[in-house]
């Protein structure tokens, strides 16, 4: 049986600005991404010290998911079944390079365990799942550009096969000080009717 999809909320983080459903909820003129991520955490009044141990990609994904889930009406039981389907271009390259630097010199070979554990992009899904006790299906795709069709197919499959009722989808990319997060919560009920055109429109809107 075919089910119609909707979007409950969507969030974007780019160029020192966070928007929720198209409205700016936080803006920061920090020159560097580290300050921006930290200031955002403080401004959103999140209390989760593990945030500071995360790499940049996970911090970005974590903040976008915090904004989305904070503004959704999902109870803790339903949260457990949320599926997470994310994607990006740079994978975990930002952290991979930092790890590489610690093992380049054989005479000074001290790989950092805290860096190493973030050398996979799907760790970002893990961090979100730990924070919200999410136990649903998940996948992380790496592609050159945002592929809304791929994410839609995956979301439809999860909902049609009753694997999940809500899916946190999106694009979370961080590399070399450039960052871009775009996340949306897909469900059968929601504020916005789902279509690829709508996803592309909100992905590209400022």
């Amino acid at each position: 049986m075919s089910k119609k999809l909707h979007i409950q909320n969507y969030c974007k983080i780019i160029d020192g600005k966070i928007t929720l459903n198209g409205k700016v909820i936080y803006e920061d003129d920090s020159n560097d991404s580290k300050s921006f991520l930290k200031n955002t955490y403080k401004n959103l009044k999140i209390e989760y010290p593990k945030f500071f141990k995360m790499d940049n990609l996970c911090k970005l994904a974590f903040l976008a998911s915090e904004v989305l889930l904070e503004h959704s009406s999902i109870d803790s039981k339903a949260k457990e079944d949320i599926a997470i389907v994310l994607s990006n271009k740079s994978s975990s390259l930002d952290t991979d390079r930092k790890h590489q630097e610690t093992i380049n010199d054989k005479g000074n070979y001290y790989p950092s365990p805290a860096n190493f554990v973030y050398t996979l992009p799907n760790i970002a899904i893990g961090e979100i799942s730990i924070r919200h006790q999410i136990k649903g299906e998940n996948a992380f795709f790496v592609s050159n550009t945002f592929n809304e069709k791929l994410l839609e197919q995956y979301a439809i499959s999860l909902i049609q096969n009753e694997k999940s009722n809500q899916i946190l989808c999106g694009w979370v990319d961080f590399d070399d000080e450039k960052y871009h997060a775009f996340m949306y919560l897909v469900a059968e009920e929601g504020e916005y009717k789902y279509s690829q055109e709508f996803i592309n429109k909100i992905y590209n809107e400022n």
Partner: protein
């Protein structure tokens, strides 16, 4: 010994990204894992690397690590007795 304890507190805060802590917040006898600073297993691995990198001490026995990392006081004493750097 006091200088070493200060150095350890500074390094632990910086290397383990304990953003909510200052040096003054960590007493010499505070438990580092569990209810104290709340460090986890990855932090333990970072501390093992720190011992090797900064003080030339290689910890190979996990049981030994549990004792050595019990507090700043114990850690500083262990480093003083075993350091090669």
């Amino acid at each position: 010994m006091e200088a070493l304890k200060q150095e350890l507190k500074e390094n632990i805060i910086e290397q383990l990204n304990l953003e909510d802590f200052n040096v003054e917040d960590i007493a010499d006898g505070d438990t580092l894992f569990g209810d104290g600073l709340g460090l986890d297993s990855i932090d333990a691995l970072e501390l093992i690397v720190m011992l090797d990198k900064d003080y030339g001490i290689k910890l190979t026995d996990p049981k030994e690590g549990k004792t050595v990392f019990s507090s700043i006081e114990v850690l500083a004493t262990y480093i003083t007795e075993h350091r090669k750097k």
